[in-house]
């Protein structure tokens, strides 16, 4: 952003600011990306041209009024030719000159023309302003990394391309909403793939209720809807392993294709948030969860909800909540003639997030109460959780995280997933904001696998993440 220095301020009193801020501590606060300055500059240029034209027309109107005021009184009607004498006094060659034989412009005519000019200018200004509001804003994120392991696919090491994430929000109206997140990312095979991570069309009935249809981030817990695919937004270098995105090995359904009702309502000084959703139940394919973008073949659904409370007063910045979802998930990696294993997955979660100018602390804990629907192994209980604490110190935000998944391998839902093994991980990290739109993150982590394979590995990871 540029800085201009006009003449000095007055000595005794100044007005300081128009400053726009976002976030009140419990709302995550981040900083700007560049605007569509070219379009705005073009619109401003057109507006300047319009204003210039108005000035010219106004000057001409003033001339005409002056001439009318100075001209001899008009002859009574029925005496042709007299008006032409007054018209001859008009400046020849100008558009406002009255042709011979035409009656001179009266003050009423002038006022009418001036009113039309004003209306035209108003319409042009409104149109320019409206065009500035229409169209589709395009922003995005990107990240690259290097480390002794790939932060997502630990079998790799060295430099890696993370993702290029485009965030599109076309302006459709005062209440109609749309949101698309198109992600180019490197997969587990090292190839670049394209994923329509989010495709939501919505309508805001009120501040307290918005309906979304399409593919959205499943509203369980806190992290999955607070942080999306733009890695620059998050304090940490990566998501907790068990709630990572499906194609990164996450074992919970991070995306749902269906319908989602969300909103908030103020209750006294606190605010209650809610989410209710229903969508296609997921499946396991290739050892990872798939959200069935095109629907599923058996009509099963995932249903769930999330209820949160944003506190105030001494607890300003704290949000707590509970969530639950249930879905039926089939393992399509098991091919006929074997029966397709199916599990009813039921998850109960509790979370808390404390987000202020100084602290960003997030904790989630999920309990799984899963029922084997086909293998007759009964019900299985598992759990997973994480605790992350970050301290904002200017451009630096050190953080620490502990995460753990105790996932029963007798539960086919976890056994069938590549990353469905139990583990725990400790991590220390540091985020450095290079500037308003880019961040460097360093993370040192130790991961322990504790059931399928007893193993551990250390990681030293560096990430450079930007937004635009």
């Amino acid at each position: 952003m540029g800085t201009a220095t006009p003449p000095r301020a007055g000595p005794s009193r100044v007005w300081v600011g128009a400053l726009l801020v976002a976030g009140l501590g419990h709302t995550p606060v981040t900083y700007a990306a560049a605007a569509d300055s070219e379009r705005i500059a073009t619109l401003e240029q057109k507006l300047d041209q319009s204003l210039q034209l108005i000035r010219q027309l106004s000057a001409r109107v003033n001339d005409l009024e002056a001439q009318v005021a100075q001209a001899a009184p008009a002859a009574p009607a029925g005496r042709p030719g007299t008006g032409a004498a007054a018209a001859a006094a008009a400046q020849p060659g100008t558009a406002a000159a009255t042709p011979p034989g035409t009656a001179a412009a009266t003050p009423a005519d002038t006022a009418q023309r001036l009113a039309r000019v004003e209306q035209t200018v108003t319409e042009m200004a409104a149109s320019a302003g409206q065009r500035a509001e229409e169209g589709m804003a395009t922003h995005g994120f990107a990240d690259v990394g290097v480390g002794n392991h790939n932060a997502t696919f630990s079998k790799y090491q060295g430099a890696n391309v993370g993702e290029l994430d485009f965030f599109l929000t076309p302006r459709l109206g005062s209440r109609t909403r749309a949101l698309f997140e198109l992600n180019f990312e490197v997969g587990s095979d090292g190839a670049v793939g394209v994923d329509l991570e989010r495709a939501q069309l919505g309508y805001q009935f009120a501040d307290s209720a918005t309906v979304w249809l399409g593919r959205f981030h499943t509203p369980y817990g806190y992290y999955n809807t607070a942080f999306h695919h733009g890695q620059q937004i998050a304090t940490s270098l990566r998501r907790p392993r068990f709630i990572d995105f499906e194609d990164h090995g996450g074992i919970m359904p991070a995306h749902t294709v269906g319908a989602w009702l969300t909103g908030s309502e103020r209750v006294g000084d606190e605010k209650v948030t809610y989410d209710v959703f229903i969508g296609n139940s997921q499946r396991i394919q290739g050892g990872i969860l798939d959200m069935n973008n095109a629907g599923n073949t058996h009509g099963s659904t995932i249903v769930g909800g999330n209820l949160g409370l944003i506190l105030s007063g001494a607890l300003d910045g704290l949000k707590v909540g509970v969530d639950v979802f249930q879905t039926r998930i089939e393992d399509e990696d098991v091919l006929p003639p074997l029966p397709t294993p199916a599990t009813q997955v039921r998850s109960y979660g509790v979370y808390a997030a404390y987000d202020t100018d100084t602290w960003e602390d997030i904790g989630e804990f999920h309990v799984f109460d899963n029922q084997d629907l086909t293998g007759h192994t009964g019900t299985h209980r598992s759990d997973a959780g994480f605790l992350q604490m970050g301290y904002r110190a200017g451009r630096y935000t050190p953080y620490a995280r502990y995460e753990r998944g105790a996932l029963q391998q007798s539960d086919h839902f976890f056994a069938a997933q590549t990353n469905g093994s139990s583990y725990y991980r400790t991590a220390l990290g540091l985020r450095f904001d290079v500037d308003l739109v880019s961040s460097l993150k360093l993370e040192l982590a130790e991961t322990h696998l504790t059931d399928r394979v007893i193993d551990s590995y250390d990681e030293a990871l560096l990430q450079y993440a930007i937004r635009f």
């Binding site: 952003m1 800085t3 000095r8 600011g17 990306a33």
Partner: protein
């Protein structure tokens, strides 16, 4: 962080005996309503009468921001915005625009 800078400015103005009005407009009216701003002020001790916190409709906020040259966009709950501060003199003339760190140059 930007409000912290404004608070630093307030202390500097107090030291110099300069009267200043601080105007803050929220980017996110859908989330930051009047009670939320009230809480914000209370918890950060921004209760002086010369601090003014405004909210408006989404359209009004966007238009105001555009007119003042403040660009911002929203990534769900996250608001991306710059940290510019505008300075007006007692006659309402724009004196300077710049990052908050640049305010030192206007205090002469």
């Amino acid at each position: 962080m930007t409000v912290r800078r404004l608070q630093q400015m307030q202390r500097e103005f107090d030291r110099r005996g300069t009267r200043a009005e601080f105007l803050v407009i929220g980017y996110d009216p859908e989330r930051d309503d009047a009670p939320a701003w009230h809480q914000y002020r209370e918890t950060r001790h921004l209760t002086r009468s010369n601090w003014h916190f405004l909210i408006g409709t989404r359209t009004a906020v966007e238009q105001t921001a555009r007119q003042l040259g403040f660009e911002f966009w929203k990534y769900d709950e996250h608001v991306m915005h710059d940290t510019r501060i505008l300075y007006f003199d007692e006659r309402g003339r724009l004196v300077e625009t710049g990052e908050a760190a640049g305010y030192e140059t206007t205090l002469r």
